[in-house]
Protein backbone atom coordinates (compact mmCIF):
# COMPACT_ATOMS: atom_id res chain seq x y z
CA UNK A 1 0.00 0.00 0.00
CA UNK A 2 1.52 3.29 -1.05
CA UNK A 3 1.13 6.23 1.32
CA UNK A 4 1.39 8.73 -1.55
CA UNK A 5 3.27 11.50 0.14
CA UNK A 6 2.88 14.89 -1.44
CA UNK A 7 6.08 16.10 -3.09
CA UNK A 8 7.50 19.38 -1.85
CA UNK A 9 7.41 22.41 -4.05
CA UNK A 10 10.32 24.82 -4.22
CA UNK A 11 9.06 27.06 -1.42
CA UNK A 12 8.60 24.10 0.91
CA UNK A 13 12.06 22.78 0.06
CA UNK A 14 13.66 26.14 0.79
CA UNK A 15 11.81 26.49 4.08
CA UNK A 16 12.69 22.95 5.14
CA UNK A 17 16.35 23.63 4.50
CA UNK A 18 16.11 26.94 6.35
CA UNK A 19 14.71 25.21 9.44
CA UNK A 20 17.32 22.48 9.12
CA UNK A 21 20.04 25.13 9.13
CA UNK A 22 18.50 26.79 12.19
CA UNK A 23 18.24 23.41 13.90
CA UNK A 24 21.93 22.81 13.17
CA UNK A 25 22.86 26.06 14.89
CA UNK A 26 20.57 25.17 17.80
CA UNK A 27 22.22 21.76 18.06
CA UNK A 28 25.68 23.35 18.21
CA UNK A 29 24.55 25.71 20.97
CA UNK A 30 22.92 22.89 22.95
CA UNK A 31 26.00 20.67 22.67
CA UNK A 32 28.24 23.47 23.90
CA UNK A 33 25.91 24.27 26.80
CA UNK A 34 25.54 20.61 27.70
CA UNK A 35 29.28 20.03 27.55
CA UNK A 36 29.91 23.05 29.76
CA UNK A 37 27.32 21.92 32.31
CA UNK A 38 28.60 18.35 32.40
CA UNK A 39 32.23 19.35 32.64
CA UNK A 40 32.09 22.38 34.93
CA UNK A 41 28.80 22.41 36.83
CA UNK A 42 27.22 18.99 37.27
CA UNK A 43 27.05 15.70 35.40
CA UNK A 44 23.29 15.62 35.05
CA UNK A 45 23.10 12.46 32.91
CA UNK A 46 25.15 9.70 31.35
CA UNK A 47 26.78 10.65 27.99
CA UNK A 48 24.30 8.70 25.89
CA UNK A 49 21.26 10.06 27.72
CA UNK A 50 22.48 13.65 27.58
CA UNK A 51 23.30 13.26 23.87
CA UNK A 52 19.80 11.90 23.23
CA UNK A 53 18.23 14.85 25.04
CA UNK A 54 20.31 17.37 23.13
CA UNK A 55 19.65 15.81 19.72
CA UNK A 56 15.93 15.39 20.31
CA UNK A 57 15.47 18.97 21.49
CA UNK A 58 16.99 20.18 18.21
CA UNK A 59 14.92 17.61 16.33
CA UNK A 60 11.79 18.82 18.13
CA UNK A 61 12.42 22.36 16.92
CA UNK A 62 12.94 21.11 13.36
CA UNK A 63 9.87 18.86 13.41
CA UNK A 64 7.52 21.48 14.88
CA UNK A 65 8.66 24.27 12.56
CA UNK A 66 8.50 22.15 9.42
CA UNK A 67 5.15 20.60 10.28
CA UNK A 68 3.51 23.91 11.13
CA UNK A 69 4.98 25.95 8.29
CA UNK A 70 5.82 23.43 5.59
CA UNK A 71 3.83 20.31 6.26
CA UNK A 72 6.40 17.82 5.00
CA UNK A 73 5.33 14.25 4.66
CA UNK A 74 1.74 15.11 3.93
CA UNK A 75 -0.31 12.01 3.37
CA UNK A 76 -3.16 12.61 1.01
CA UNK A 77 -5.71 10.29 2.50
CA UNK A 78 -7.01 10.89 6.03
CA UNK A 79 -7.42 7.23 6.91
CA UNK A 80 -3.97 6.40 5.56
CA UNK A 81 -2.59 9.17 7.74
CA UNK A 82 -4.29 7.64 10.78
CA UNK A 83 -2.90 4.24 9.80
CA UNK A 84 0.62 5.69 9.52
CA UNK A 85 0.33 7.05 13.07
CA UNK A 86 -0.43 3.58 14.51
CA UNK A 87 3.21 2.37 14.61
CA UNK A 88 4.27 5.57 16.36
CA UNK A 89 1.44 5.17 18.87
CA UNK A 90 2.44 1.56 19.51
CA UNK A 91 6.10 2.43 19.98
CA UNK A 92 5.19 5.32 22.24
CA UNK A 93 2.87 3.15 24.27
CA UNK A 94 5.45 0.43 24.77
CA UNK A 95 8.12 2.91 25.73
CA UNK A 96 5.75 4.72 28.06
CA UNK A 97 4.84 1.46 29.76
CA UNK A 98 8.54 0.62 30.13
CA UNK A 99 9.19 4.00 31.70
CA UNK A 100 6.19 3.87 34.02
CA UNK A 101 6.71 0.38 35.42
CA UNK A 102 9.28 0.10 38.19
CA UNK A 103 12.50 -1.35 36.90
CA UNK A 104 16.16 -1.16 37.71
CA UNK A 105 16.12 2.63 37.81
CA UNK A 106 13.45 5.33 37.97
CA UNK A 107 13.57 8.68 36.23
CA UNK A 108 16.49 9.93 38.32
CA UNK A 109 19.21 7.64 39.66
CA UNK A 110 22.21 8.81 41.70
CA UNK A 111 21.30 12.41 40.84
CA UNK A 112 21.46 11.74 37.09
CA UNK A 113 18.71 11.56 34.50
CA UNK A 114 18.14 7.99 33.31
CA UNK A 115 17.04 6.60 29.96
CA UNK A 116 13.52 6.31 31.41
CA UNK A 117 13.35 10.09 31.72
CA UNK A 118 14.40 10.37 28.09
CA UNK A 119 11.66 7.90 27.12
CA UNK A 120 9.10 10.14 28.80
CA UNK A 121 10.63 13.12 27.01
CA UNK A 122 10.35 11.21 23.74
CA UNK A 123 6.64 10.61 24.39
CA UNK A 124 6.21 14.33 25.05
CA UNK A 125 8.16 15.00 21.85
CA UNK A 126 5.96 12.64 19.81
CA UNK A 127 2.77 14.19 21.24
CA UNK A 128 3.94 17.70 20.30
CA UNK A 129 4.87 16.65 16.75
CA UNK A 130 1.53 14.88 16.21
CA UNK A 131 -0.27 17.94 17.61
CA UNK A 132 1.61 20.13 15.12
CA UNK A 133 0.59 17.81 12.30
CA UNK A 134 -3.06 17.92 13.37
CA UNK A 135 -3.01 21.73 13.73
CA UNK A 136 -1.48 22.09 10.27
CA UNK A 137 -3.97 19.71 8.68
CA UNK A 138 -6.92 21.53 10.25
CA UNK A 139 -5.52 24.86 9.14
CA UNK A 140 -5.04 23.58 5.59
CA UNK A 141 -8.60 22.26 5.59
CA UNK A 142 -9.96 25.57 6.90
CA UNK A 143 -7.93 27.54 4.34
CA UNK A 144 -9.17 25.21 1.64
CA UNK A 145 -12.80 25.75 2.72
CA UNK A 146 -12.32 29.53 2.82
CA UNK A 147 -10.86 29.46 -0.69
CA UNK A 148 -13.89 27.52 -1.91
CA UNK A 149 -16.31 30.01 -0.29
CA UNK A 150 -14.47 32.96 -1.84
CA UNK A 151 -14.82 31.27 -5.22
CA UNK A 152 -18.56 31.23 -4.69
CA UNK A 153 -18.85 27.45 -4.51
Amino acid sequence: MKLELETLDERQTLMTRKYGYQSFLLLIALVLINAFICEVVYVWAEPMVSALFVVYIALLYFAIRTQLRVGIGKIKSKWKFALAMVPFALIGGVMGYAAATPGEAGLIADGKATINLWILFFLFWAILVVAAVIIRRRRDKRDGNQAERSDGR
Binding site: L14, Y19, G20, Y21, S23, A35, F36
Partner: protein, 151 residues
Protein backbone atom coordinates in the same frame (compact mmCIF):
# COMPACT_ATOMS: atom_id res chain seq x y z
CA UNK B 1 15.03 42.50 15.51
CA UNK B 2 17.39 43.14 12.65
CA UNK B 3 20.98 42.34 13.41
CA UNK B 4 22.27 44.69 10.81
CA UNK B 5 24.35 41.97 9.20
CA UNK B 6 23.25 42.01 5.62
CA UNK B 7 24.82 41.62 2.32
CA UNK B 8 23.98 38.10 1.23
CA UNK B 9 22.38 37.54 -2.07
CA UNK B 10 19.58 35.01 -2.36
CA UNK B 11 21.73 32.29 -3.91
CA UNK B 12 24.23 32.39 -1.05
CA UNK B 13 21.47 32.25 1.53
CA UNK B 14 19.92 29.24 -0.18
CA UNK B 15 23.30 27.48 -0.29
CA UNK B 16 23.94 28.19 3.38
CA UNK B 17 20.54 26.78 4.34
CA UNK B 18 21.00 23.74 2.13
CA UNK B 19 24.35 22.76 3.61
CA UNK B 20 23.23 23.66 7.13
CA UNK B 21 20.26 21.32 6.66
CA UNK B 22 22.62 18.54 5.52
CA UNK B 23 25.06 19.26 8.35
CA UNK B 24 22.19 19.00 10.83
CA UNK B 25 21.56 15.40 9.85
CA UNK B 26 25.29 14.67 9.69
CA UNK B 27 25.70 15.94 13.25
CA UNK B 28 22.69 13.95 14.45
CA UNK B 29 24.04 10.77 12.94
CA UNK B 30 27.49 11.34 14.36
CA UNK B 31 26.00 12.29 17.73
CA UNK B 32 23.95 9.10 17.93
CA UNK B 33 26.88 6.97 16.83
CA UNK B 34 29.21 8.66 19.29
CA UNK B 35 26.75 8.24 22.15
CA UNK B 36 26.25 4.55 21.32
CA UNK B 37 29.97 3.98 20.95
CA UNK B 38 30.81 5.67 24.24
CA UNK B 39 28.05 3.82 26.06
CA UNK B 40 28.49 0.30 24.72
CA UNK B 41 31.93 -0.03 23.14
CA UNK B 42 34.49 2.33 24.60
CA UNK B 43 34.35 5.78 26.19
CA UNK B 44 37.09 7.27 24.08
CA UNK B 45 36.90 10.69 25.73
CA UNK B 46 35.02 12.77 28.26
CA UNK B 47 31.51 13.86 27.16
CA UNK B 48 32.72 17.39 26.47
CA UNK B 49 35.61 16.31 24.27
CA UNK B 50 33.66 13.73 22.28
CA UNK B 51 30.75 16.08 21.69
CA UNK B 52 33.12 18.89 20.71
CA UNK B 53 34.78 16.66 18.14
CA UNK B 54 31.42 15.51 16.75
CA UNK B 55 30.26 19.11 16.37
CA UNK B 56 33.61 20.10 14.90
CA UNK B 57 33.33 17.40 12.22
CA UNK B 58 29.81 18.54 11.33
CA UNK B 59 30.85 22.17 11.29
CA UNK B 60 33.80 21.26 9.13
CA UNK B 61 31.50 19.57 6.62
CA UNK B 62 29.23 22.63 6.67
CA UNK B 63 32.14 25.05 6.39
CA UNK B 64 33.84 23.20 3.56
CA UNK B 65 30.68 22.85 1.49
CA UNK B 66 29.64 26.48 1.95
CA UNK B 67 33.11 27.91 1.35
CA UNK B 68 33.66 25.88 -1.82
CA UNK B 69 30.19 26.74 -3.12
CA UNK B 70 30.91 30.46 -2.82
CA UNK B 71 28.39 31.16 -0.10
CA UNK B 72 30.95 33.25 1.79
CA UNK B 73 32.70 35.02 -1.06
CA UNK B 74 31.80 38.17 -2.88
CA UNK B 75 31.41 41.70 -1.67
CA UNK B 76 27.88 40.98 -0.53
CA UNK B 77 29.07 38.45 2.03
CA UNK B 78 31.93 40.41 3.56
CA UNK B 79 30.17 41.50 6.74
CA UNK B 80 28.80 38.07 7.59
CA UNK B 81 32.14 36.55 6.75
CA UNK B 82 33.80 38.59 9.45
CA UNK B 83 31.00 38.13 11.98
CA UNK B 84 30.93 34.34 11.63
CA UNK B 85 34.45 33.28 10.84
CA UNK B 86 36.33 35.59 13.17
CA UNK B 87 34.89 34.23 16.47
CA UNK B 88 35.50 30.64 15.32
CA UNK B 89 39.10 31.31 14.43
CA UNK B 90 39.69 33.35 17.59
CA UNK B 91 38.13 30.63 19.73
CA UNK B 92 40.42 28.05 18.20
CA UNK B 93 43.45 30.26 18.76
CA UNK B 94 42.50 30.84 22.41
CA UNK B 95 42.11 27.09 23.00
CA UNK B 96 45.45 26.38 21.38
CA UNK B 97 47.09 29.15 23.38
CA UNK B 98 45.73 27.70 26.63
CA UNK B 99 47.10 24.27 25.73
CA UNK B 100 50.50 25.72 24.85
CA UNK B 101 50.48 27.65 28.13
CA UNK B 102 49.67 24.44 30.00
CA UNK B 103 52.60 22.76 28.32
CA UNK B 104 54.96 25.62 29.12
CA UNK B 105 53.89 25.84 32.76
CA UNK B 106 53.67 22.14 33.60
CA UNK B 107 56.26 20.81 31.21
CA UNK B 108 54.01 18.19 29.65
CA UNK B 109 50.73 18.01 27.79
CA UNK B 110 48.47 14.97 27.93
CA UNK B 111 46.59 14.45 24.70
CA UNK B 112 45.46 11.02 25.84
CA UNK B 113 44.86 10.29 29.52
CA UNK B 114 43.91 6.84 30.82
CA UNK B 115 43.09 5.84 27.27
CA UNK B 116 40.73 8.80 26.79
CA UNK B 117 41.04 11.91 24.66
CA UNK B 118 41.51 15.13 26.62
CA UNK B 119 40.46 18.67 25.83
CA UNK B 120 44.07 19.39 24.81
CA UNK B 121 43.70 16.87 21.99
CA UNK B 122 40.70 18.82 20.78
CA UNK B 123 42.53 22.13 20.90
CA UNK B 124 45.49 20.66 19.04
CA UNK B 125 43.51 19.00 16.25
CA UNK B 126 41.16 21.97 15.87
CA UNK B 127 43.66 23.88 13.69
CA UNK B 128 43.99 20.76 11.53
CA UNK B 129 40.44 21.39 10.38
CA UNK B 130 40.43 25.19 10.40
CA UNK B 131 43.60 25.60 8.33
CA UNK B 132 42.35 23.61 5.29
CA UNK B 133 39.02 25.42 5.55
CA UNK B 134 40.78 28.78 5.47
CA UNK B 135 42.92 27.60 2.56
CA UNK B 136 39.81 26.45 0.69
CA UNK B 137 38.28 29.89 1.21
CA UNK B 138 41.31 31.68 -0.22
CA UNK B 139 41.60 29.20 -3.10
CA UNK B 140 37.95 29.92 -3.92
CA UNK B 141 38.60 33.66 -3.82
CA UNK B 142 41.65 33.25 -6.07
CA UNK B 143 39.64 31.22 -8.59
CA UNK B 144 36.82 33.75 -8.58
CA UNK B 145 39.30 36.57 -9.14
CA UNK B 146 40.94 34.68 -11.98
CA UNK B 147 37.54 34.06 -13.57
CA UNK B 148 36.60 37.70 -13.19
CA UNK B 149 33.89 37.09 -10.61
CA UNK B 150 33.42 39.33 -7.53
CA UNK B 151 35.39 38.07 -4.53
Amino acid sequence: MRTGIEGYDERQRVLRHKFGYQAFFVSMGLGFFNAWFCEFIYAWGSPMVTQFIVIMLSAYYFGLRTVLSGAYTGDAASERRTAVILPIVCGGIVLLFLSVLTFVVSGHLSLIEDGRATVHLFSVINPVFIVPLTLAYYIKRYRDKRNGEPN
